[in-house]
């Protein structure tokens, strides 16, 4: 360890003595590693934004969604058989890896009125777990409770915007509203969440008990979506397949018929986001790879020049007792350190750049540990791999020839 440390110090001293060369060797790595850093930090930022968005939808890694309809296959939601039935859900809930199925019923947007005021908004029949699982806080009153669902009570919880629209003055609690023609009573108001990145107002909504929605609004014992909570999150894909089989069997879909439902997993959303940024990532990765390769070649050539320029030094070191391995280790240490220093500079520059770009474009940026590790490994790898050839050449010099 002590010897390694002394070697590192000596290598740094040599590099400092040849700082012009060292700077030249580092340029390529600075460019390469800063691109990698930008890629990873921007990617990590987007990913963490998506993850936080998903978790605000109650979408952790421990659950996936089943929605009726399949827009890509041309099945609209809610059509004759394009819904989830009690049978579907109870069969899903009997799967070994399924902990809990939280069904939901979205009713097409409808007129909601309070006295003379009215608005058009989306109405959902939801379970009592809905608020907690989707991170909704209650601003006033209460959320739906078990008794609401059991007794099919005609109670409603309003989103903040809807509450503002219908009751610009005074508390909406305890006030009557009409959904379509059915009368309901307001028992609570959700805390505001603001606009989603897609631009739609997340506070524009009315929630009613699921059973009430089935009885009074959709007039069917069916659901439009369900959240499936898992026991073992390591088996998401297996469980998704089992759910798909149940639904295809229950919906009597022939082998050639596409799914009339959509299963959305956290992975599939992430994949979608990733796919969108893949072109940019591919380009930057290409730049990074090329510049890393080029910088490796530059390092190799400059080290070769340095080795022949320093033949005397190598000769003296051999004369006073350095073995071939010592000489090899010294040259490798120098190329490793120059590469690591270059990588470190690149990392710093990349972090500055990605924060600059992020601030300029309003994109999130997050420190990426894998990006950091990758930069570190890449620069160390470039230094070691491209240092081998010069180091071997130095080690194979004969002391007598060096000292001439």
């Amino acid at each position: 360890m002590n010897r390694l440390w002394r070697m590192a110090v000596q290598a740094l001293r040599s590099l400092w003595a040849e700082r012009g060369y060292a700077a030249l060797m580092m340029i390529g790595l600075v460019i390469g590693i800063s691109s990698v850093t930008v890629i990873y930090e921007m990617g990590e930022g987007v990913r963490s934004q998506v993850v936080s968005m998903m978790s605000s939808m109650g979408f952790g890694a421990d659950a996936f969604f089943v929605a009726s309809g399949n827009r890509r296959a041309g099945f609209r939601r809610g059509g004759a058989a394009r819904v989830l039935t009690d049978k579907d859900l109870s069969e899903i809930s009997r799967l070994v890896n399924v902990d809990l199925v939280v069904p939901q019923l979205s009713i097409s947007r409808d007129r909601v009125s309070a006295g003379a005021r009215h608005t058009i908004t989306g109405i959902s029949g939801v379970d009592i777990h809905y608020a907690a699982s989707r991170r909704w806080d209650i601003a006033q009153g209460r959320f739906l409770v078990e008794a609401d669902n059991r007794d099919k009570r005609r109670v409603a919880v309003l989103g903040a915007s809807t509450a503002q629209e219908l009751f610009p003055e005074g508390s909406p609690l305890g006030r009557p509203i009409r959904i379509g023609t059915s009368p309901f009573l307001v028992v609570g108001v959700l805390a505001a969440k603001g606009f989603a990145p897609s631009g739609h107002d997340r506070d524009d909504r009315v929630l009613v008990p699921l059973s009430t929605a089935q009885r009074r609004l959709s007039k069917e014992d069916k659901f439009t979506a369900a959240r499936v909570n898992l026991v073992d999150t390591g088996q998401v894909s297996e469980t998704v397949e089992e759910v798909r089989e149940i639904l295809r069997a229950n919906h009597r879909l022939g082998p050639e018929v596409p799914d009339d439902f959509t299963i959305v997993t956290p992975d599939s959303i992430l994949q979608m986001v990733t796919r969108q940024s893949q072109a940019m990532v591919a380009m930057l990765t290409f730049i990074a790879t090329v510049s890393l390769f080029v910088s490796g070649i530059v390092i190799m050539n400059i080290m070769l020049v340095a080795v022949s320029e320093r033949a005397h030094e190598i000769g003296v070191r051999r004369a006073v007792g350095a073995t071939r391995r010592d000489v090899m280790a010294q040259i490798l240490m120098e190329s490793l350190l120059v590469a690591l220093l270059g990588g470190l500079c690149g990392l710093g520059l990349g972090m500055l750049l990605s924060r600059g770009i992020g601030a300029g474009l309003g994109l999130p940026v997050a420190f990426s540990l894998p990006g950091f590790g990758l930069s570190f490994l890449f620069s160390a790898g470039v230094g070691l791999i491209f240092g081998v050839f010069p180091a071997r050449r130095a080690a194979n010099l004969e002391p007598v020839e060096c000292l001439r």
């Binding site: 002590n2 010897r3 002394r6 000596q10 001293r13 040599s14 400092w16 003595a17 005397h312 030094e313 000769g315 003296v316 070191r317 051999r318 004369a319 006073v320 007792g321 350095a322 073995t323 071939r324 391995r325 010592d326 004969e398 002391p399 007598v400 000292l403």
Partner: protein, 246 residues
């Protein structure tokens, strides 16, 4: 201490083979002070490189303290150079970026164990060559004579049995030549170090107790001078330096 028997060295470059040594038998006793002389191409440097384990003979036997060393591995030779030998070269070969002291400590970097008192020993070696006031100067800030004295300090810091010097005064003026030779003579006389140096300067040869002459890869003569010149006396006889006179 050193016993060369039938040492030959043939350089093969492509199809041309150049014989450098054609069967050299040479002994060096502990405490010898020998100059190896001869015209260029006579093989004098080659003999020294082989004795210094910097080069391998093509044929022949080399016993160092009774141990055959021609069959040793590169690493084995490096360890022997590190622990038993010191080297001084014509063009000093100091590391330009390191201070005098750091240069002197270089052999310790390759010792099996870096001694705890390395720095103290480095100071002592530099004091022995009269450079205790130049510890932290870099080679560029030193005169040629001072550089060569740093090199001598580097050669003796590990307390080797033998010091090999290849044209140690070849790049030095007269005064520096005497200074370096005075140091080598003192090391030989007071500390019993074996000194083997290569030179083409007859005057330097006159300061050595033994002179081995090579011609065309063979030993032509091996003579002992009963009264070699004393470098300190020669130094004292020089006219005073400009800066000393002022």
């Amino acid at each position: 201490m050193i016993q060369l028997r039938g040492i030959t060295k043939i350089y093969a470059t492509g199809k041309v083979t150049t014989p450098a040594l054609l069967g050299v038998d040479l002994d060096m006793a502990r405490g010898d002070f020998a100059a190896i002389m001869g015209p260029s191409g006579s093989g004098k440097s080659t003999v020294m490189h082989i004795m210094g384990l910097l080069d391998r003979p093509t044929d022949g036997s080399y016993l160092l303290e009774g141990q055959e060393v021609t069959g040793l591995s590169d690493d084995g030779l490096a360890a022997l150079r590190n622990q038993r030998m010191g080297f001084v070269f014509q063009s000093f070969h100091l590391l330009p970026t390191a201070t005098a002291l750091k240069n002197v400590l270089l052999p310790f970097v390759y010792s099996p164990r870096y001694p705890a008192d390395a720095e103290e020993r480095g100071r002592r070696a530099l004091t022995a060559v009269g450079l205790e006031h130049r510890l932290h100067h870099r080679p560029g800030e030193l005169s040629g004579g001072e550089c060569q004295r740093v090199a001598v300090a580097r050669a003796l810091v590990t307390d080797p049995e033998v010091i090999f010097a290849d044209e140690p005064t070849g790049n030095l003026d007269r005064r520096s030549t005497y200074e370096v030779m005075a140091i080598l003579q003192r090391l030989n006389r007071d500390e019993g170090k074996t000194v083997v140096l290569v030179t083409h300067d007859n005057h330097v040869g006159e300061m050595c107790r033994r002179v081995v002459r090579l011609v065309y890869g063979r030993i032509e003569s091996d003579t002992v001078a009963p009264q070699p010149l004393d470098a300190i006396a020669l130094l004292a006889a020089l006219p005073p330096r400009e800066e000393d006179r002022r």
